[in-house]
């Protein structure tokens, strides 16, 4: 059977990894290629690169980094950040990305998912959502979680699937950074409405959180995290060995 996936996320600004500290065995922890190689060797099932650069120069640096990573690491690569047009898809796919993650770009232009899915295939389009509880509703947020769009996130997920998104990243703003476990309630509500792979993000603090995630919600396919991996609070190889011991299928 398909294994559950463990995915580290690397935020890149001006060609450097943000938040990368405290790694033994890596000379330059802020170097995306070095960190990507490290994660690949640690057993990461996929890598997500998030470009948080605003400037044109920074964007060029990012695609250069992506090309270097894709020339040396041969696992699936997902790229997000600043994806607003089909040209943006083209730009990162040419540099070796396998999947492209859209967030605010799809809110600004709801046709983007459909156009991209038609051109590059569903498997290439990842819809990433930042979600927060507002007035008893799961509300979709834009601009890195700063702006309430007023959109019902559950409806947005359903529409995303219908328009051709091949995968969903569900990032709970409510649990992000709290390290007390994934937002199981929010994830369950999304899983009830879609039948495409779901990547859970936000809240992982311990290995048990991943075990609870996969046991409680069999429809969730992957767990994504950033700082717990960057700060080596959890080592991916240890995590995967632990999860396999818990009866969860893992690629080791």
């Amino acid at each position: 059977m398909i294994t559950k996936r463990i995915i580290p996320c690397l935020d890149i600004r001006d060609g450097r990894v943000v938040k990368g500290v405290n790694f033994e065995g890596i000379q330059d922890v802020e170097h995306p290629v070095e960190l990507a190689k490290f994660y690949n060797q640690s057993g990461a099932d996929e890598l997500v690169f998030y470009d948080i650069t605003a400037s044109f120069e920074g964007r060029a640096l990012f695609t250069d980094i992506l090309t270097q990573v894709a020339s040396q690491i041969f696992i699936p690569l997902t790229v997000g950040g600043g994806i607003n047009t089909l040209d943006d898809f083209d730009r990162v796919l040419k540099c070796g990305a396998d999947k492209v993650s859209v967030n605010s770009g799809a809110i600004k232009n709801p046709k983007l998912i459909e156009q991209a899915a038609k051109k590059y295939g569903d498997q290439c389009v990842v819809l990433s959502m930042d979600i927060k509880r507002v007035d008893g509703q799961f509300r979709l947020f834009a601009k890195g979680g700063r702006e309430d769009t007023g959109i019902d996130a559950l409806e947005w997920a359903r529409m995303g699937e219908q328009n051709g998104a091949g995968e969903l990243v569900v990032n709970s703003i409510d649990t992000d950074g709290v390290k007390d476990g994934f937002d199981l309630e929010m994830l369950a509500a999304i899983a009830d409405r879609v039948n495409i792979p779901i990547i859970a993000s936000g809240g992982a603090g311990r290995m048990e959180d991943f075990s609870e995630l996969f046991h409680t919600l069999p429809k969730v396919d992957a767990g994504l995290a950033a700082s717990i991996f960057h700060f080596k609070e959890i080592e991916i190889r240890d995590l995967k060995t632990y999860l396999r011991g818990q009866g969860i299928e893992m690629r080791i």
Binding site: A70, S71, F74, P197
Partner: protein, 202 residues
């Protein structure tokens, strides 16, 4: 030199990079001369079957591919490139393939007995019904990366690797010097690189 056939379908960057990383001379090409002078051929592909087979016909390379593989030159079809090797595909209609491997390509969803997700995306373990030199560096149970909604069937005789997804998915096939993998070796980490290395040594 390994000729990677470019017929306007999909992104060949990772495939070419993975061969280069292994120190294997390779060329992305749509020229018959390159295919003649190559010692191996890779037929990649993503997207829809009917569109891809038409584009491949448009290159005028099919006869060259047939002659070269009949003469024993190793060919590796990857993902949709593997599916093109079969007699027929039933992806949105009925389409003729190259007929280099007996069998047909059908929707996964039609055969599932429980409501699993389609496409079949992710890492899945390989099983080997019989030994083959393509997998000489790979162990039973090693995982490879799949992304597909259709799969090859009625090809048991030629099947050299499978994976389980409620049904048995044809992971790799062989007919003489013609090989195909449904999974992406160029996206399957060390295991995938080892399969490409073995292909270069056939």
């Amino acid at each position: 030199m390994i000729a990677i056939i470019d017929y306007g379908v999909g992104n060949l960057f990772s495939l070419s990079s993975s061969l280069t990383y292994l120190g294997l001379d390779n060329k992305i090409t749509s020229s018959a001369e390159d295919i003649l002078s190559a010692d191996r051929i890779i037929l990649p592909g993503v997207g829809a079957f009917s569109d891809a087979v038409q584009k491949l016909r448009d290159t005028g390379l099919i006869d060259t591919i047939r002659q070269q593989t009949a003469a024993g030159k190793p060919l590796l079809g990857i993902c949709l490139g593997m599916q093109l090797l079969f007699d027929k595909s039933y992806e949105y209609g009925e389409h003729d393939g190259l007929g280099l491997v007996p069998g047909r390509v059908c929707p996964i969803a039609d055969d599932l007995t429980r409501p699993l997700k389609v496409p079949h995306i992710g890492w899945n373990a390989l099983h080997f019904p019989k030994p083959d030199p393509l997998f000489k560096y790979v162990r039973e149970g090693d995982c490879v990366y799949y992304v597909h909604s259709f799969y090859a069937k009625d090809c048991t005789e030629n099947t050299i690797a499978t994976s389980e997804y409620d049904i048995t998915i044809t992971g790799a096939v062989r007919s003489g010097s013609v090989y195909g993998t449904q999974f992406h070796p160029e996206k399957s980490g060390e295991v995938g690189l080892n399969i490409l290395r073995a292909f270069s040594e056939l």
